[in-house]
Symmetry: C2
Subunit: 280 residues, 2 copies
C-alpha cells in the first residue's frame, strides 16, 4: 500500500494505471473509518484492479462553527484498516495542498444543495462538490463509492457527475448499522453512553415509518407526525428536520410514491446525527 500526500504524485500514479488500462475504484473518506467505509472499500476491491482511498478532512465542507478541529483523525488505525482491506493507494493530502494560497474555484449543485442538511449547513455541499471534483480529477476513478447514510450527498454527487461530464460510475451502498440500529458514523464517537442510547431513536423512528407504510399509510404528514411524536419522548433529542422526499430531485412528497427517501437530522445533545431509509 502506497501512502501519497502530494496531489500531483497521486494523479501521476492514476495516469500510470490508466495508461495500463487498469480500472480504478475510489473511496473518498474523511478518515475515522468504520464498517460503513469498509463495506465501500470491500466493494471497490471486488470490482476494480486498483483501489484508492482518500483520507481528507475537507475544511471547505465545514461551517465556521462546526467540528472541523474536533473531527476524529485516528490516522494510524485508518491506515491499518485500509492495508488489511487490500487498498493499493491512500491519498492523504493536507489542506494546503488541496487549497493552496490564492485558491478561488468552487463547484455548486444548485437547489439540491439548499434543502435538508443544506439549510442548516450553508456552504457544506459546495465544499463537498468542490472536493469531489478535485478528487475525481486527481484520482481518475472508473467507479466511486459512497454510503447511503449521506443520502443527500449521494444525490448531489450523482447530479454533479452527470452535469460535469465525469465518466466515473457512482455507486451508493447501503447504510451499515450497529446491532441495535444506530447508523455507523464517525461522529458517533462524540456521544456519551447515555446519548448513544438516545441516538437509537433515529432508527426506531425510521422503523416506525416503514411499518406505517407497510400497513398502507400513504399520507407523508401522518408518517412524519408519528415519527415526531416518537422522538419527542426523548428529552435529549432535538429534531432538526424529518422529511419524505423524491429520491432523485429531493422534492417534498405529499404521498408515498415511486422511490423516496425518509430522511432525518436530530441533535442528541451537542451531536448532530442523520439517518434515512430508501422506500422503493
Amino acid at each position: 500500500m502506497k501512502i501519497i500526500t502530494n496531489p500531483k504524485i497521486m494523479q501521476l500514479e492514476s495516469f500510470k494505471n490508466k495508461a495500463k488500462h487498469k480500472s480504478i475504484g475510489f473511496v473518498p473518506t474523511m478518515g475515522a473509518l468504520h464498517q460503513g467505509h469498509l463495506s465501500l472499500i470491500h466493494a471497490a476491491r471486488k470490482e476494480n484492479e486498483v483501489v484508492v482511498v482518500s483520507i481528507f478532512v475537507n475544511p471547505a465542507q465545514f461551517g465556521p462553527k462546526e467540528d472541523l478541529k474536533r473531527y476524529p483523525r485516528p490516522v494510524k488505525r485508518d491506515l491499518e484498516l485500509c492495508k488489511n482491506a487490500g487498498v493499493d493507494f491512500i491519498f492523504n493530502p493536507n489542506p494546503n495542498q488541496m487549497y493552496p494560497q490564492g485558491y478561488k474555484t468552487y463547484v455548486s449543485v444548485e437547489q439540491l444543495s439548499q434543502v435538508l442538511c443544506g439549510k442548516s449547513r450553508p456552504g457544506h455541499f459546495r465544499g463537498v462538490a468542490t472536493v469531489i471534483t478535485k478528487l475525481f480529477n486527481i484520482v481518475q476513478p472508473d467507479r466511486a463509492y459512497f454510503g447511503q447514510k449521506d443520502a443527500q450527498q449521494s444525490v448531489i454527487i450523482k447530479r454533479l457527475v452527470e452535469d460535469l461530464n465525469f465518466t466515473a460510475k457512482v455507486k451508493v451502498l447501503p447504510i451499515v448499522r450497529e446491532a441495535q440500529g444506530l447508523a455507523l458514523s464517525s461522529r458517533n464517537s462524540y456521544l456519551s453512553p447515555k446519548e448513544r442510547e438516545v441516538g437509537l431513536v433515529l432508527s426506531r423512528a425510521l422503523k416506525l415509518a416503514k411499518e406505517l407504510i407497510f400497513k398502507g399509510t400513504k399520507d407523508t404528514k401522518k408518517i412524519v407526525s408519528a415519527m415526531r411524536k416518537l422522538i419527542a419522548k426523548e428529552e435529549l433529542a432535538k429534531i432538526e428536520y424529518i422529511e419524505i422526499i423524491d429520491s432523485k430531485n429531493l422534492k417534498y412528497l405529499k404521498r408515498i410514491s415511486g422511490r423516496c427517501f425518509i430522511v432525518l437530522a436530530v441533535w442528541i445533545g451537542k451531536t448532530r446525527l442523520i439517518d434515512n431509509i430508501l422506500i422503493k
Copy 2:
C-alpha cells in the same frame, strides 16, 4: 475531419486517443471563426497529434439581455476553415446536450470573476468556467488554447485549471489585429463601416498608453486619464472601463510594475468591444 454533436461520443473518441497515448490539443470556440481562432488552431496542430475544436455558443455565459440569439453562427464556413486547418474533430453540441433538463451544476472562480467584464456581465464567467470544466472532461485535452483578447477569461481559466487539478496545459496566444489595429472579434461583424472606424480608438488608446509607459510614466491614473481623453473625442464611443491590473490576480495597480494588463471595454453604438495589451 469528424463532426460530433453528442458529448458521450466525443468523450469516447478522446478516450480512444488517450488509450493510444496520443496528445490532444483543444481549441474551444463559439464559432464565427476568424484569424485569431485560426492562430490557436495552427498552434494546436503544430504541438499535438490530435486537434479538437469545439463550436458551441454557450448560453450559460450570456446574460438575459445579451446577444445570444443574434450571435453569428456561420457553421458551414467555420467547418471549412477547420478542415483546411487540419482539424481532426469538431465538437458541435446543441445546448440541450450540454445542459439537459434538470441541469444544476455550476463552477465559479471567485473574485477574478467579479471585476472588469464580470461587473457588467454578472454570471458571464460562471458560464465560462462551467462550460470549460465540462468541455475539458469531454475532450480530455493535453493542451488548450485561448486568445489573449479575452485576458480576464484566460486568467480565470488558468486559475480554474490549477484549482480543480486539471492536467491540461493552458496556452494563451497573442491578439490578432486588422492592419489598422482593430482586435479581431466575432462581434466586429455587428459594426457598421462608420462604427468600425470609431472602434479603432481602442487600439489607439492602448498604443498611447504603451508610448507613455515607454517614456517613463509609471502612474497608472495618468495613463488611464490620457486614454480616457483620447477616447472621449469619439462621440460614438462610450467607455465601460479602462484599468491597469496585475496580470495574475487582476488587482488594480497604482504604479506600473511587473507583468500587468491594460484592459478596456468600450461601447461603440450598441456593440461592446474589449481590447488589452500585456506590459512586461
